[in-house]
Symmetry: C2
């Protein structure tokens, strides 16, 4: 494994992560294990301060900035967890963060980013136009634009898989949601470096299969993006995470949004944790491949918990 990033990069990221965060729990759930017919452990990244794993990456990225870059500030586009991660890291390091979100974005998430001290600017009718615009603003002001799969972010988010190995060294399968691919890439780098026999399986919504189609075909392919689960809603695939996942990922499954919604309800019942769509997708996939998982120690990465109450209400009332 001579390409970058390597597990060594992820080890190097740890001090930056643990300056602000503690390891998240890996809990075993007996009744959920019975339901899936194997031993189920949940990696609770939903317990992070901003409710998602991405906060690890932002901290590592911010730690690597020069004094000049700190002064010029951070710029990104996001409607979700990536923006909160950048806002959190910026505040922790006394850096100004400017985040573009498309008009009509979830007001709760906008409020959360503002609550973390970021300047949030509504611009454009969709994510891509917000992103294009803020990239220009960053260039003009000499600031740093942070893309969702920038290498320091991969280094940072990889630390949760080291924690999984700390707590459960004999883990056999890890199911991880794939959005832009930073989490799945980092998970597979760590798992395969420590023990190639650990199976790492990516999961995406069948209603937004761009990363899956690209992984399967070997070419970067865009696709429809109609999932409610914004954490795994990727329309345009990312080259660097595709390269890593093609090398290390053992399998890549698609699950229907309806099954993700069921998984949210099941997780609430058996773990009393609120998962967002991305965070519940690994359980939906595990239920799809029960036969393959039987008798194994399986970790589901609950990547985040930022589900709106309105969405939850809809899921519970069905």
């Amino acid at each position: 494994m001579t390409d970058t990033p390597t597990i060594h990069d992820i080890y190097a990221a740890r001090p930056h992560v643990y300056r602000y965060l503690r390891p998240t729990p890996l809990h075993h759930y007996a009744t959920l294990s019975d339901l899936v017919g194997t031993q189920i452990y949940i990696k609770h990244e939903n317990h992070q301060p901003v409710g998602a794993f991405k906060v690890r990456g932002g901290l590592v990225m911010a730690a690597g900035l020069t004094t000049e870059q700190r002064k010029a500030g951070l710029f990104t586009a996001s409607t979700g967890n990536h923006g909160q991660s950048i806002a959190y890291a910026a505040r922790a390091n006394a850096i100004k963060a400017t985040i573009a979100v498309p008009e009509g974005a979830n007001p709760g998430k906008v409020a959360a980013m503002r609550g973390l001290g970021a300047e949030v600017i509504l611009h454009g009718e969709d994510f891509d136009s917000a992103r294009e615009w803020i990239t220009g603003v960053a260039a003009e002001k000499g600031g740093t634009f942070v893309g969702p799969t920038d290498e320091p972010l991969i280094h940072g988010v990889g630390t949760y898989t080291l924690e999984i190995l700390d707590d459960l060294p004999d883990v056999e399968v890890i199911l991880v949601p794939v959005g832009a691919g930073s989490g799945a890439s980092a998970t597979s780098i760590v798992a395969k470096s420590i023990h190639p026999g650990i199976k790492v399986i990516g999961v995406q919504s069948a209603q937004a299969p761009a990363m899956h189609l690209s992984w399967q075909s070997g070419n970067l392919m865009t696709a429809q993006m109609e999932t409610f689960a914004e954490g795994i809603a990727t329309r345009v695939p990312f080259e660097n995470t595709q390269r890593i996942m093609r090398k290390y990922l053992d399998d890549f499954l698609l699950v229907d949004d309806a099954d993700i919604e069921d998984a949210i309800r099941i997780l609430l019942e058996h773990t009393h944790n609120l998962a967002e769509g991305a965070g519940a997708a690994p359980l939906a996939a595990a239920l799809q491949i029960k036969d393959r998982l039987a008798g194994k120690k399986v970790v589901l990465v609950m990547s985040g918990g930022n589900l709106s109450v309105e969405r939850l209400k809809g899921i519970l009332s069905r």
Copy 2:
């Protein structure tokens, strides 16, 4: 402070707790702070393995048993978090746990206790008859009956308040739910020992005010018990925790069940955490005394998250 327990007992409990558990997070929530009009921090005891703070106490109690006592096993009565705590501690120490629950108890909680390896026996039509019966069984078999306010449990649960002080040494107010009183007693012992200026406020449901009435009157008084929040549903008060709370608690508030339900919804929206009734009661109280809390650093103890999906569905659909 020469009575027992003391903060030294709680320090002595730490190694037993951290042999199995990690500190839980204390998170600041910006939008929730805006809502209450002060700085709100949540102590996330709902992130514990069994979903509640009580797990700390069970581990300390189990660590103090003699070899003889370990062989004879642990016996208790519970329909909720206390039972799961004893089951968890017993499993961790390879001790047999026998838990009596009244007939008609929540099947989810029974399954959770069984999932932790406990023998669960349904007996009697209410909690008191289950408890009376299992006390007799324990005596007959030479086993140890564990009551909900036994001293080692207070020592163990006190460790979460040391963690609060670790993370936020300038905390000014702590709001803590009161069921049997072990959590509130331990919180006030720790807080007052470290800085008498920290205000500790207990919270109970107005629909189950026995502990509140006893604290206020100075006499042990039973009362109605009609709250849905089983974590703070106490009909018969406990002498030892009353004695501690009368000495150290600054105030003791009652909140209506309807306000607790509102608080559950608000916490879900602003923190994406599921709180059970007891875990949401401190927010309900904070909203009741906004004026007194203005400008202060306030910690709400989210004691547990074991709310049923059915109950949540009812709360969200109102």
